[in-house]
Amino acid sequence: MKSDSRLEKVLTAGRFAVTAELGPPQNANAEAVRKKAQHCIGNVEAANITDNQTAIVRMSSIAAAAIAISCGVEPVVQMVCRDRNRIAMQSDILGAAALGVKNILCLSGDHQTFGNHPQAANVYDIDSMQLIAMVKAMRDDKIFLSGDPIKEHEPRLFIGAVENPFADPFEYRVMRLAKKVEAGADFIQTQCVFDIEKFAKWMETVVAEGLHERTYIMAGLTPVRSHRALQYMKTQVAGMSIPDELIKRMEAVEDKEQQKEEGVKICLEMIDHVRNIKGVSGIHLMPIGWESITPVILKRADLLPRPEV
């Protein structure tokens, strides 16, 4: 075992794994984290704690992760390269591990111009690839990026990365995934899958390259409440592929409550699809602002209770 994480145990046991997203609040309210954590307790292997997502200032992901741990939820601490240099990142990696964090997800991060402090300087001292390699070297080689030894208590983290099968250049996406695996990504969570055909095509190449045997691929899924939310993602979020049929299907349902139900149904169908795609080891639910739907979806998808490992 590389870490002592439940996520790692479930994946290495060959069980279909489930993670979900938990976004920290835009304030210092620990109770808000505890409340969201309730939807995750016992329902997922681990909860991703986002790191100032879309470049909007929120409670620190490591602080929120510590609160999640106190509720009995295993966190995946997300770490973006936008806001910290290599010194701050390594320091936070040590701090997170000391607080009991066992999983980390390395990302470049949404550019600051999207958020509420577009005036900020960006850091990008290292990129997500270099971050993955850095965490791996800290864990496996017990060295800092400088080469200095970590004499004892190296951070033992299960290392995740993201990949967007829908971004461009499409042909390069698998090569880049191979690089992330090479750098040390133990698991991969993908961008939200709505375009199941494109995802399946991408997975085919992933499997052809044997990458599914060197890392665990978890398909990202987002349940949506309305056709507007879908429309918004299609037009406003870079690198998203959303088939028009899906939007039409949601639109055809007039009643608001029933639209929500349709959104859940679509998500359930997606779960079904991705479970049957070779090389997919689990799902990562991202119910943006709708965390309470996580247990409902998992129950209806027959993914509860979670396996004992």
Binding site: S108, H111, D127, Q130, M175
Partner: protein
């Protein structure tokens, strides 16, 4: 070349509000080519300032000069005599010119009239694009001649971020994604293998992170 842009007139007027006589100094180098600081720009700005000051009922006298390059001592030393009679210099050279004037003529205050933007070139008439951030350790050899430091909004060294779509950058739909350009270029020259290697973190000491940089050309030392 260095590309610069004129500061808003109000900001310029405010910076010289206490002056009755100034020298407006352009530069015959880069900023002449990008229209912001050559002899013509000097003429135009001088008349704009004069008109504005006349309206305020506080006319101003302006000595107009455009040395061949404001960033070389030999071209600006000749201004010493004229400088004796002015309250300040308004420089419309790049930030380097402003500092050369300040250093060479310490008894006179030199004020900036331009915002110095970047190193680049005109990609079409009257449109300049940034190309180099002067990082001090050039990677163009393996990126196919396209710079990821100056042209990728995240300075990524290991391929495009997840926001690259349809060839444009997630930050601005008007900007091409540098990594799409790099990918296309390497594909064209048969060097896609360059992208397979994991590139190590950059040593930013060669860039603007370790204090002012200096270059000594030993062979030419006197």
């Amino acid at each position: 070349m260095i590309v610069a842009d004129r500061k808003p007139l109000d900001e310029i007027l405010n910076s010289i509000k206490d002056c009755d006589r100034i020298m407006l100094a352009g530069c015959g180098g880069c900023v002449t080519i990008c229209f912001s600081g050559g002899a013509k720009a000097v003429q135009l700005l001088a008349s704009q300032i004069k008109i504005a000051r006349k309206k305020q009922d506080r006319p101003i006298e302006i000595i107009e000069v455009t040395p061949e390059r404001q960033c070389e001592y030999e071209f600006i030393d000749a201004l010493a005599e004229d400088l004796k009679s002015v309250d300040a210099v308004l420089s419309i050279a790049c930030g380097v010119g402003v500092q050369a004037m300040t250093e060479r003529h310490p008894d006179t205050v030199t004020l900036p009239g331009l915002n110095t933007k970047f190193m680049g070139y005109p990609v079409e008439h009257a449109l300049w694009d940034e190309r180099c951030a002067g990082c001090g350790d050039c990677v163009l050899e393996w990126t196919g001649g396209i710079c990821p430091i100056a042209r990728c909004a995240k300075k990524l060294l290991n391929g495009p971020c997840g926001g690259s779509a349809d060839g444009v950058c997630e930050v601005d739909k008007e900007l091409p994604c540098a990594w799409q350009l790099i990918y296309d270029r390497l594909k064209k020259i048969g060097k896609l293998d360059n992208l397979k290697k994991i590139r190590e973190p950059k040593d930013w000491r060669t860039s603007t992170n370790a204090g002012q940089r200096k270059i000594k050309f030993e062979e030419a030392m006197l």
